[in-house]
């Protein structure tokens, strides 16, 4: 389904149809919906109305200062949507092959489903590598590094946390059907750092093609002032992002 915000017109419809017709032969059913009003409202209401499973939107890579606090359309939708969302940062006619998928492995009830989705998408798109990133907040490492002794201690604590996280991820991976994981290299990477931010940074460094994240819990304006978790990724989209609801 294609949602266009604005008055319906013959001309517009023709343009859309010319885009969409090639896919018709591949067995794709589509529907074009025209509605006027506030874009965010319209899109959100339509997704609810029509029980959409996945919403695909294009988004700017970086926001400027004003937009950051007011929020662009894509981001507003992301924050409020009740379905899964795929944010594309540079949509292109030629499909960029998706090789490397980064998925979060946070300790969260949603994670299991997210990881499974990541493997499902990876399997469908023919990705060769999936990295599960466990972000470990610095607060969990209770030892502060002051001198050689505390450094040794903190290294041990970190090693322990790392092993714990890896065990947890392994347990999740076990639940994923084997057919999804075959032909895919699985890597698990624990990172000590700010939650939500590190994974975006990592996806950028690791040149990932798609980042799969848990959907955020409810957010307020304050979360934007003091960004955490997914907000960091929304402010500077490192790659295409799939948010699993």
């Amino acid at each position: 389904m294609l949602i266009h915000v604005g008055e319906s017109s013959e001309e517009k419809l023709n343009t859309f149809l010319s885009f969409l017709n090639p896919f018709k032969d591949q067995g794709l059913e589509f529907e074009v919906s025209f509605k006027a009003g506030d874009p965010v409202e319209v899109i959100l209401s339509t997704t609810k109305e029509k029980k959409v499973d996945l919403l695909i939107i294009g988004a700017l890579k970086k926001e400027n200062f004003v937009k950051y606090y007011l929020g662009s359309i894509a981001r507003k939708i992301t924050r409020k949507a009740t379905c899964s969302i795929l944010l594309l940062i540079n949509p292109s006619k030629e499909r960029v092959s998706c090789n490397h998928i980064v998925v979060n492995g946070l300790k969260d009830p949603k994670t299991e489903e997210t990881v499974t989705t990541a493997f499902f998408v990876g399997h469908k798109l023919g990705a060769s590598k999936v990295t599960v990133v466990e972000e470990i907040s610095d607060d969990e490492v209770s030892v502060k590094v002051d001198d050689d002794k505390s450094l040794r201690k903190s290294t041990i604590v970190k090693e322990r946390l790392r092993i714990r996280e890896e065990m947890r991820v392994k347990a999740i991976l076990k639940t994923i059907p084997g057919e999804l994981t075959k032909d895919i290299v699985i890597k698990s990477q624990p990172i000590f750092g700010k939650r939500g931010y590190s994974i975006g940074h990592y996806a950028q460094v690791a040149r990932a093609d798609l980042l799969v994240m848990n959907a955020p819990s409810k957010m307020t304006f304050w979360d934007r002032l003091f960004p955490h978790d997914i907000e960091h990724i929304l402010t500077e989209l490192p790659t295409d992002v799939l948010i699993v609801q």
Partner: protein, 731 residues
């Protein structure tokens, strides 16, 4: 755990060495303490009290290992202003308050305050303090006491004072000026003379010895009063009983006033900056490569400052020159700081009346030298080579500090740096948008090395995030720092990263910085660009006569000759000789075709700040084909006997009396060394000229005098080396 096993036994074993170095340090601390206190217009004894309190408290509670604490150079400027505006007793109260603030900072883990200041601004502020010290004391050194309003006025008066000196009629003043000039000469030329007996006593103590000796010469031999005018002698130093009974009571009446608190802020700021810079520099010198616990040290310094303030002393800070002297004389743990304090107590008990024989002008010469070192043209040149904009920051800070005050100065430096950064990047948004973001990603890769990626920008504003990440990596690991996602990296960061590289390298790790070349190519990155420039090359047609001769020697001995300066000196690691020395570069290298042995000139520095000595010397290095025991071999002299008393052992051979008497041999593993020294080898050493010889298991280092060798000496050295090489490597 190696550290635990050696804790108590090792501590006791190291005590004699630390006592020795504590003694040497106390020799420099005594005149400096008196001088620094007098320069701040506090009673001279205040400086010594500061050193004693600092030494005792910080050695017990501190978190660093080989640092020495006492009255600091940087604080002279601040204390001086505090005393002139608040008066002495209220200043003691301000000192106590700043001690309390320091303790709080320590508990809040904000000890790393100095990290938030750009390094050029700190340099500018220190230079300004140096000029304040130099400007004020220069006149006293030349027997022309004057009183002016600001630091700049004192500086402008310097030519006048020099003219006045030549018009002196009063003999007392002429002698005072002479004492000052001679003392300054001792300070300047001391580091140029490399004599181990002379070097045993630090330059400031030589000044004390010479001037006390001079005074006794007049009293006992000429039977006439000291010719130096009484105004230019140190005022009476109270004996220990008076010090204890007449502790000044701090006056807290001004606590409500703004000037009181601005003094407190300035004292705290400078004390923490000076201490941190010193701790950082001294950690680099530490032979055992330990990491200081900065926050613990700041807490200890704060407590010491509170106590010192109550007892009539000044702020206690970690001091660089004295600490480096401590390291160079074998100080290995905090007990040397304690011993330095105890020796000071002994000096005051025994010699407090003798100290009044020291001319004020001589003491001030030490401070003039200190001030000059803080503001020396070398620093300006170094900053200029980093970038013109750094010079701008430097001078902005310096001028504002001199004209207005310390806090305004550092604030001006901060603002100047930020404006320049915005100007260079042409983007204010880059900084504003990203300043609060956790811009550093660090993770351990599967092969065990660490990857650190920095985003957006990295400057003094947010260096703490990168620093915190680097601190959390054990130094024996390999680290890659990737700046390629960064739009801007400033000079302070580059400098600190360079420090970390050195630290990691010392402990067996490695830091590689990548991604800067991209920034350089975009040419919006002057700081990085300059940092990446290779060492300056000597033009081939610009050879000195010695270099021409060296290339002749190379042909003669069938060696290859390379005159270019190289900073790569890895093969010199592990030699005890260089343990407390910083190698700058090696040059004029003569290498054997197979690389088996080479002779070279090396530039290294020893000590820091006013105790810094830059030495150039010629050495020969032989690579051994198999692992040999580590040892050092020296001519046996008076000093070596003294070292033996201080806990260094000499290995003697029963079958080679002559060798054992003439040579001083030491090493960790006497048995292996004895096996290594075959009859043939012993005979070789007995029958040849003396050289200092040292092995680091993989190679042997041979040197003689601590200066560049002449062509003749190089030939002799090469000849000695070639024959020794044959003997060791059986070729």
């Amino acid at each position: 755990m190696k550290a635990k096993e050696s804790s108590l036994g090792g501590f006791v074993k190291a005590l004699p060495k630390n006592m020795f170095s504590g003694l040497v340090v106390s020799l420099i601390a005594l005149p400096l303490g008196l001088g620094l206190a007098m320069a701040s217009e506090a009673p001279p004894i205040a400086g010594v009290i500061t050193a004693i309190v600092g030494g005792v408290i910080v050695s017990i509670l501190g978190g660093s290992f080989v640092t020495i604490s006492g009255p600091g150079n940087g604080l002279v400027g601040v204390v001086l202003i505090a005393i002139t505006t608040l008066g002495l007793t209220a200043t003691y109260a301000a000192i106590i308050c700043s001690g309390i603030v320091l303790i709080i900072l320590g508990f809040l883990r904000l000890g790393k305050l100095a990290d938030y200041f750009p390094s050029s601004a700190i340099q500018g502020m220190l230079a300004a303090i140096g000029l304040i010290i130099l400007g004020k004391q220069f006149h006293i050194m030349l027997g022309n006491k004057i009183v002016r309003d600001s630091g700049i006025d004192y500086l402008l008066e310097i030519p006048n004072t020099i003219i006045t000196v030549f018009q002196f009629e009063d003999k007392g003043l002429i002698y005072a000026a002479l004492a000052g000039v001679i003392s300054l000469a001792i300070m300047v030329f001391y580091s140029k003379i490399r004599n181990k007996y002379l070097q045993l006593i630090p330059a400031p103590m030589w000044i004390v010895i010479v001037s006390v000796g001079f005074s006794y010469y007049y009293q006992l031999v000429l039977k006439s009063p000291n010719p130096i005018s009484l105004d230019y002698m140190i005022p009476a130093i109270p004996d220990i009983r008076t010090i204890v009974t007449e502790i000044p009571s701090p006056d807290f009446k001004m606590v409500g006033s703004l000037s009181f608190w601005s003094s407190v802020v300035a004292l705290t700021l400078i004390a923490s900056i000076e201490s941190l810079l010193s701790i950082k520099a001294v950690d680099k010198l530490d032979v055992d490569k330990r990491r200081s616990n900065v926050n613990k040290d700041i807490k200890a310094l704060g407590l010491a400052t509170v106590v010192s303030g109550f007892l009539g002393g000044l702020n206690v800070v970690t001091v660089i020159a004295r600490s480096s002297v401590n390291v160079n004389n074998g100080g290995s743990n905090r007990s040397s700081n304690m011993f330095h304090a105890l020796f000071l107590v002994v000096f005051i008990l025994l010699f407090s009346s003798e100290l009044t024989r020291i001319p004020l002008s001589a003491l001030m010469a030490i401070l003039v030298y200190t001030g000059y070192k803080l503001a020396s043209p070398v620093i300006v040149r170094k900053i200029f080579t980093i970038g013109k904009e750094q010079l701008l920051i430097f001078f902005a800070t310096l001028l504002v500090t001199l004209k207005v005050g310390l806090i305004s100065g550092i604030v001006a430096g901060l603002i100047a740096t930020f404006i320049i950064h915005v100007f260079v990047t042409k983007s204010l948004g880059l900084f504003i948008k990203n300043i609060l973001k956790p811009n550093v990603l660090m993770y351990k890769e599967e092969d065990g090395s660490y990857f650190v990626s920095v985003k957006h920008f990295c400057s003094f504003l947010n260096f703490n995030t990168l620093k915190a990440n680097l601190e959390a990596i054990p130094e024996s690991n390999d680290v890659i720092i990737d700046f390629s996602l960064c739009g801007f990296v400033d000079h302070s960061v580059m400098e600190s990263v360079d420090d970390y590289q050195e630290l990691f390298h010392k402990k067996g790790g490695n830091i590689e910085v990548i991604g800067l070349d991209i920034l350089g190519a975009e040419s919006k990155h002057p700081f990085a660009l300059r940092r990446l420039l290779p060492l300056q090359k000597i033009l081939p047609d610009n050879k000195t006569k010695r270099q021409k001769n060296l290339s002749l020697v190379a042909d003669n001995f069938d060696l290859s000759y390379n005159p270019v300066k190289k900073s790569d000196s890895e093969f010199l690691e592990g030699f005890i000789y260089f343990e407390t020395k910083k190698i700058e570069h090696i040059f004029n290298e003569l290498t054997e075709k197979n690389g088996q042995y080479r002779s070279f000139d090396v530039t290294f520095s020893e000590g820091e700040f006013i105790a810094k000595e830059v030495v150039r010397t010629t050495m020969l290095f032989i690579k051994t084909s198999k692992i040999i025991p580590a040892f050092t071999l020296d001519k046996e002299g008076l000093l070596e006997r003294l070292y033996a008393l201080a806990g260094y052992e000499d290995i003697d051979f029963k079958s080679h009396k002559d060798f054992s008497n003439r040579f001083y041999l030491r090493g960790e593993n006497p048995k292996e060394i004895k096996d290594f020294f075959t009859n043939e080898l012993v005979r070789f050493f007995e029958s040849n000229a003396y050289y200092h010889l040292e092995s680091n298991k993989e190679g042997v280092l041979i040197c003689n005098k601590e200066r560049i060798a002449s062509i003749k000496e190089i030939k002799a050295l090469l000849d000695f080396g070639i024959r020794l090489n044959k003997l060791i490597n059986n070729t």
